[in-house]
Amino acid sequence: MTDGLENINIVKESVLQFTPGVRLKDDEERQCKLLLMPECIVKLNRSASEVLELVDGQRTIEMIYSELAARYEDDTLHRDLAEFIMDALSRGWIEVKSESIQT
């Protein structure tokens, strides 16, 4: 499940959290979730919202994966989730909580 993630210090036990200053907002008028951050707003599609809703500074990548896996039977979930997390990390939306690796 950590395919493609080995370059940065990430393992499936890593806990994810939003980078300070980044937060989710429910937008009733636009019927979607927005990601608000310094000088930028991102309109999220459904799958991105579903992942980011699970980012709470408590759940590990593995926990996020299994919650999503329970909702969908999708063979590509592994790869898609890994890709999305890498992307969200590199854009600075989320980060790995330090000392978060639970052993």
């Binding site: 300070p20 907002k25 636009r30 608000l36 951050m37 310094p38 000088e39 707003i41």
Partner: protein, 363 residues
């Protein structure tokens, strides 16, 4: 005229005051600054925040002038918080004390952007009109110690573009997480100083090479962005998602604009929030509807395949350079006025420095 579906705006810029202790050569405030007596009351700003939230606005930039010079700033921030609008303070750092910052954060301020003029005090002084570097550095350090995201912003031009490397190193040393570089946009005072500020193509080329290298090296440490200036960009810059499509600006006297520079367009009359609601301004006002969609376009934009991508470029630039805001942005190679921009670039490339006087804003 066809009716254009209007989406709701996402962001608002609130220019709380035009007052500012600095006198930057590249200031984008208009040459006729709004005086203190004509600034809006707190009640008016509170009502604007409420109207903005009702219009589905989700983010606000508090700016000026120097927004810290507006005495009721914390109350404005608190109201934004109350209406769940993300607030971002854009400041020179002058006037930022520990106490002020703590108060702002406790009222709900979500991010802060501090500007530096240069990595060196002497260049900074030339640009800002007085020596404020030490104060700025201490504000920056103060903010970096707080639990609030800080972006460092540096406006680039002929005088500091050669120091791009130093600026980036300084940001890394300070442990800044976000660095925003932006070439000077030529409106307001900046336009009056254009000859002095426009960097040469050679300068740009060198600076971009340094930037690209450092950006790669520091990718894990700093998020960096650079908005290249209009005149040096090869294709017209798309007007922020189109004229009056995402953003609304309320200036210090209550006038509403689709963008910070739009006041330069003297052929439009911009509505006041003192007379009309934000919703009417957004949906009905002639100024906000003037360049929505593509019906207003002239050739070559009218039949151009990029018209829905760059929206014909910047309306303010078109007006400032051609006198007609509906023309193609002269930055575009297809514009019949493109040669105006070429001439400016040629001048900037000349080895001799401009002999034009520097024009500082008077406060």
């Amino acid at each position: 005229m066809t009716v254009i579906a209007k989406q709701r705006p996402f962001t608002i810029t609130m220019e709380l005051t035009h007052r500012c202790p600095l006198q930057c050569l590249y200031c984008s405030n208009p040459m006729e600054l709004i005086s203190k007596e004509n600034e809006l009351s707190l009640d008016h700003w509170i009502s604007i925040v409420d109207q903005a939230a009702d219009l589905s606005i989700v983010q606000a930039n508090l700016t000026g002038g120097e927004p810290l010079a507006y005495p009721r700033l914390t109350s404005v921030v608190a109201q934004l918080k109350k209406r769940d609008i993300y607030s971002n303070l854009i400041t020179s750092g002058i006037g930022l004390t520990e106490k002020v910052l703590e108060e702002l954060v406790s009222c709900g301020l979500e991010s802060i952007q501090i500007s530096l003029q240069s990595a060196n005090a002497s260049t900074a002084e030339l640009i800002a009109g007085w020596n404020a570097q030490a104060q700025k550095m201490s504000s920056l350090n103060l903010a970096l110690r707080q639990k609030i995201p800080v972006s460092l912003n540096v406006v680039l031009h002929k005088y500091n573009i050669d120091e791009v490397g130093e600026i980036i190193d300084l940001a890394a040393e300070l442990n800044v997480k976000r660095l925003e570089l932006a070439n000077t946009q030529f409106y307001g005072f900046a336009l009056a100083n254009r000859e002095n500020l426009l960097p040469s193509e050679k300068q740009m080329e060198n600076a971009v090479a340094v930037y690209d290298l450092k950006k790669k090296q520091l990718a894990a440490k700093i998020q960096m962005s650079w908005i290249i200036g209009d005149y040096l960009e090869r294709s017209p810059k798309p007007c922020m998602g189109g004229w009056a499509n995402q953003h609304i600006v309320v200036s210090a006297d209550g006038t509403a604009y689709p963008c910070l520079a739009a006041g330069a367009i003297k052929t439009l009359s911009f509505p006041s929030t003192k007379e009309k609601s934000l919703q009417w301004i957004w949906e009905e006002s002639p100024a906000f509807n003037a360049f929505r969609g593509t019906d207003w376009m002239l050739e070559p934009c009218r039949s151009c395949e990029f018209r829905e991508k760059d929206f014909g470029g910047c309306r303010c630039q078109a007006f400032l350079l051609t006198g007609d805001a509906a023309q193609a942005d002269p930055v575009c190679k297809l514009s019949p006025h493109h040669q105006l921009v070429e001439e400016k670039i040629k001048k900037a490339n000349a080895p001799l420095a401009s002999t034009k006087e520097l024009i500082y804003r008077l406060n």
